[in-house]
């Protein structure tokens, strides 16, 4: 369903281990393989601490995996150093969860937006004002906002500024780490509309981290479900409601409160807490919370198998 020639970035066997106390090892990402296509959105969902952000940070070179490679434009970006690494940052940008804390509160909006452009000498300092206005208008904010500070703006406006800054360098890929979860639903909707509009106009690839399945299905082309550092299911975005197969994806889906749901039914939820990634069971990572757990699940680690075009599941049931 995705054209291989549109493949823009590929993560191959990415593993990240962190040393923990008492000689233990915490595996934050375990053999993650994901493909990003041009102009498409990949949504990464999972509970807190499952390694979603750890993985996305590799794409923007904020961290390096212990093993595996990330191929972008024919080269492994995890091996880049010095000036090459710096130049590569222009192509992959990031939007953080809380723009109020990720920007310098003493900088004016125009400085915030134009800083990356100045760093790469794309514009002269004298052109700053003009460029800032242009970028603000692109994210549907009044151009005069360039003279404001972050604290003079609402949460939704700040997130628009963060998007304007990320887009300033015209990157091919943007990573958004829970970019809307601090916002009200009505504001969230307008931000998603903006993101999808910009994506259509500019053909940007988006990696979106999220834990709201309702939100992710509204605009992702493919969705990857992550659990304790493992990708357990990858599927086309429109499939998440009806066709998700993995027991964990189903459990996530069952715990969503939806205004269209059947209110007479009892809400289902997994009772137990997420186990510590320090002592991972040898078999399926989900086996001790799964209600369909079989003998084989406790011994053998399931691998991703394709069950339909563009739909892969790592579960012994399939």
């Amino acid at each position: 369903m995705f054209d291989e020639k549109d493949l823009i970035l590929e993560a191959k066997h990415v593993t990240r281990r962190f040393p923990a106390a008492k000689g233990k090892v915490l595996t934050a990402c375990n053999d993650v393989n994901l493909k990003f296509y041009k102009g498409k959105t990949l949504g990464l969902v999972g509970e807190s601490g499952c390694g979603k952000s750890t993985f996305m940070r590799f794409l923007v070179s904020l961290d390096k995996p212990s093993e595996g490679e990330i191929i972008y434009r024919g080269q492994d970006i995890t091996k880049l150093k010095g000036e090459k690494l710096r130049q590569n940052r222009q192509n992959i940008q990031m939007v953080f969860q809380d723009p109020a804390t990720s920007f310098n509160p003493k900088m004016k909006i125009r400085d915030v937006i134009c800083e990356p452009l100045l760093n790469f000498k794309r514009i002269k300092p004298s052109e700053k004002k003009e460029k800032a206005k242009e970028l603000l208008e692109m994210v549907e904010l009044p151009g005069e906002f360039e003279d404001r500070f972050m604290h003079n703006m609402s949460g939704g406006q700040r997130q628009r500024v963060a998007i304007a800054r990320a887009l300033a360098l015209e990157p091919e890929i943007i990573v958004m780490d829970e970019a809307t979860s601090a916002l009200d639903v009505s504001v969230q909707k307008t931000i998603i509309e903006l993101i999808t509009k910009l994506q259509r106009e500019k053909g940007i690839t988006i990696g979106f981290i999220c834990h709201d399945l309702g939100l992710i299905q509204s605009f992702a082309h493919q969705v990857a479900v992550m659990y304790l550092g493992n990708i357990v299911e990858v599927m086309p975005g429109e499939d998440i409601g009806e066709n998700c197969r993995h027991p964990y994806s189903k459990a996530l889906l069952a715990s969503v409160f939806d205004i269209k749901m059947d209110f007479t039914k009892k809400i289902e939820s997994i009772d137990s807490e997420i186990p510590s990634p320090l002592d991972m069971p040898p078999g399926c990572p989900f086996c001790d919370r799964c209600d369909q757990c079989m003998e084989i699940c406790k011994q053998e680690h399931p691998v991703l198998k394709e069950i339909a075009p563009g739909h892969e599941v790592a579960c012994h049931l399939y």
């Binding site: 509970e47 807190s48 309702g214 939100l215 409601g241 939806d258």
Partner: protein
């Protein structure tokens, strides 16, 4: 007689009214939710009911009656008797309400012993019992932990256990699930529903998640800029309301199988 009556209150910080002409009534065993965007005054309302308005905040007009008695004239020691026994509150992050340098057990027993004249050992036992009733496995372990050692969902359950120790008639919950994952949110919502089934507790929940509000409540109040914009039962709010703002909020909720932008 309604258990809680809020009659046309206006709440001001300084000279500026934040909440204007707000009224609601709550019968025993009912759940009511306040929804609306940030800054619409939801939290201010329940803080006023609990007598916890931050400095400068005051109820300038109207009255709040709990079981027929006006709460506005309460003195400090009357509040102390009421809070935690007849009315209690759960905050957005229960970890932040506990002293970070004290173990959960120390905070919990202190709380129990301000309400009841019992020994430390008996208070600890009572605490463990409450934690286990809230489905926290190995309550004694939790009592020995510091708040930061617990996950968000566990901390929230400790908060509910504390709030429910004296089986209050009214539980106020200020965004109790907003900081949690979907799976943990489902657990907490289910537990709050069980409180009503088991103890007949009335609940006022502040949330911006319309799905949670619709699932839990008998009555939903939509607030906008400090005034009630729309209210009604679930069926009315979801399907029959003709209020424009309610529609706008409902349309914005992402839903499985709903609108796709791509």
């Amino acid at each position: 007689m309604a258990m809680l009556e809020v009659n046309n209150i206006t709440i001001s910080y300084g000279d500026r009214p934040t909440v204007k002409d707000f009224s609601m009534t709550l019968e025993p065993g009912k759940i009511c939710s306040l929804v609306g965007e940030s800054g619409s005054g939801k939290t201010t309302v329940i803080r006023a009911i609990f007598g916890l308005l931050p400095g400068g905040g005051k109820v300038t007009e109207g009255d709040i009656l709990f079981e027929g008695e006006s709460l506005l004239s309460y003195k400090k020691d009357q509040w102390r008797k009421l809070r935690g026994s007849d009315i209690s509150m759960i905050f957005q992050d229960s970890g932040a309400m506990m002293n970070p340098t004290k173990r959960v057990g120390a905070a919990f027993t202190e709380y129990i012993r301000t309400h009841e004249n019992i020994s430390k050992a008996a208070a600890t036992k009572k605490g463990i019992e409450m934690l286990e009733r809230m489905r926290l496995p190995s309550g004694d372990n939790v009592m020995r932990s510091y708040p930061f050692q617990l996950s968000g969902g566990m901390r929230q359950r400790v908060g509910i256990a504390m709030g429910m120790t004296y089986q209050p008639k009214l539980l106020l919950a200020d965004e109790p699930t907003s900081a949690l994952d979907v799976t943990t949110q489902a657990q907490i919502v289910r537990q709050m529903m069980e409180l009503r089934e088991n103890y007949g507790t009335s609940i006022i929940i502040v949330t911006h998640n319309l799905g949670v509000a619709a699932y839990m409540s008998d009555h939903i109040i939509v607030m906008k800029n400090g005034v009630i914009e729309d209210q009604g039962d679930r069926d009315h709010m979801l399907y029959h309301s003709d209020n424009e703002y309610t529609h706008k909020l409902l349309d914005a909720v992402p839903s499985i199988g709903g609108v796709r932008y791509v």
